[in-house]
Amino acid sequence: MTEAAVKEEKKITDEGLEVGVQNLTAERIQKVINRVLKGESGARLKAYVDTCVHCGLCSEACHYYLSHDKDPQYSPVGKVKQTLWKMLKARGNVSADFIKRASEIASTECNACKRCAMYCPFGIDIAYMMLTVRRICHLLGVTPLYIQDTAHSHAVTMNQMWIKDDEWIDTLQWQEEEAQAEIPTLRIPLEREGADIMYSVIGPEPKFQAQLLYQAAVIMDVAGVDWTMPATPGWDNSDMAMYTGDNEIMGRVKRAHFETAARLRVNRIVMGECGHAFRSVYDMGNRWLGWRMPPIPIVHAIDFYYELIQNKKITITEKFKEPVTLHDPCNVIRGGGLAEKARYVVNAICEELIEMHPNREHNYCCCAGGGVINCGPPYKMTRMDGNRIKAEQLFAAKSRGAKILIAPCHNCHSGLEDINHHYGLGYEIKFISDILYEVMDKPA
């Protein structure tokens, strides 16, 4: 590829960034940068910046770096250099174009997957630093358009997909009816105050993947779970505001979520197969609100299936035949320790699990996470070029016989779907629930 072609490819137009930088002044940039770096952040940022010995050891952790033939611009510390170091050195005196590029780097060239934190000998958390850059860009109004729109949706509707209050309930009732064709007495119990479990999902489920609600309802029904779903906002556990740096909206959305669970007085919140949402309710949103841990315990779907299978609430008729491989979503594996439980579940429902390498905590991110896929079509190639290594990893598993790729996370799912197509890998990608639903013992 010629130099010019590379340049061509890199030139992405994004109205969110273009219009955003037009409204910037030098004073505003400086004020916001100093507000965030001096005011909002504290010891962590300082220790990270002062401790980093510029050794580059974090580089190989990052799939962007590995996929770009070890281009140091994509190394974790390289991204910090291009963003925070400059801002700190210039005491906030940076140009509007610099901010635009910083936003691009932080929002689309880092998945905040924290793999690098496991490679840095000091445990420096570069994802945290990239989120700090996003926070600065948010306060400057320079955020990619698609994800900004999603953050607006969260702000208005408390969900990710502009789903109106009634559309949510209507969808649940529709899926309940659909599922009643299979199990006539099945219910999706709305607003059943005092139930054991509140089941929560992300916005795209009712919008595009209603069959997942159906499957969840069947699993709950067959397992005899005492569950409910809210008929009010607060049902959505997803959170793109967390990834745009709009912490206030993140907090507002999470407050609605936890207060809904508290109002329904459930013992636990069980959530669908989603990674970033887990991070939001388990790690980030709750903390912004002052909750050290979630006020109502959060159980990720993997953990929940594990429990159902182990307690024999669900039995398997016949295991899934085709060999599968398992993608470990960063946010629930590196972020929630569910690696072994995921394997227990997959082995319980599938004949053969062919591990991809690296795996567990060391798995490569899908490159969709951290809000990158939510930055929309302009950045699709950023994700494809940025994750060749994932394609190679998947290809290797495929050549050892894997046919199905299990991705128990929504973002991973969509991101891997793109990689699957782009690199012609020929996988079929499934959620655990797709297979569980298929192989579980159901009333005939």
Partner: protein, 219 residues
């Protein structure tokens, strides 16, 4: 010449140690104050068990994925840090100096070993230098300050070695050695060499977050 020596090994040495110890305390305390002021929540996640788990793991050669990926660097880095800290502490010449002043003394390294350890430090610095120049990912994040820091660290070892062999003018070299040693000490709290102070803290924090909250390994 003698008066310069007296000054450098007397008041200046005092000053250097005061700045070193005072500086270290200052950096640590001010970091804690900052945590206290703005990120108190960090305390609530700190876990002794997982802090130690992480620190221990990362202090063991080849115990982490990334160390195994870079065997040469791992060996060099461990050797470097061990020699860097032990050599000056247990050097016969240093202990003798202290004994003369305060009548305090402790075990010392056999001279030959000290010599080898000194050379290891110097060689490691050369390794780091070459790495910085050759590895694109390291070069990309390197600034002049990184070279200066390497020089600051290497200098007392090089000069000390030269003094030992008394190759050039002994007095001048000794003065240079002492000066460079003092510069390095003072540099520790006020430059990136402060990673000596912060490393246990950042590790403990990440270890606690990974172990206690995320239930995952951090290596």
């Amino acid at each position: 010449m003698h008066s310069i020596y007296n000054f450098v090994s007397g008041p200046l040495a005092w000053l250097a140690f005061i700045l070193f110890i005072g500086g270290c305390l200052y950096r640590l305390i001010s970091l804690m104050v900052l945590v206290h002021r703005k990120e108190k929540f960090i305390y609530s996640y700190m876990s002794l068990k997982y802090s130690l788990r992480s620190i221990f793991r990362w202090s063991t050669p080849f115990a982490t994925e990334n160390m195994r990926r870079h065997p040469a660097l791992t060996i060099v880095a461990f050797a470097f840090h061990i020699c860097l800290i032990l050599t000056p502490l247990f050097l016969l010449a240093h202990v003798t100096l202290i004994e003369e002043s305060w009548n305090l003394s402790w075990w010392t390294l056999p001279e030959g070993l000290a010599e080898i350890m000194t050379l290891i430090v110097v060689a490691a610095c050369v390794f780091f230098l070459v790495r910085r120049l050759v590895n694109p990912e390291v070069r990309y994040v390197t600034s002049v300050s990184d070279y200066i820091l390497l020089a600051i660290v290497a200098a007392p070892f090089i000069t000390g070695f030269l003094v030992y062999y008394q190759w050039f003018g002994y007095q001048t070299l000794l003065i240079l050695h002492i000066l460079s040693g003092e510069v390095m000490l003072v540099a520790i709290p006020f430059t990136r060499l402060s990673h000596m102070l912060f490393a246990p803290l950042t590790r403990a924090y990440m270890g606690s977050e990974f172990g206690g909250v995320r239930h995952a390994r951090d290596w």
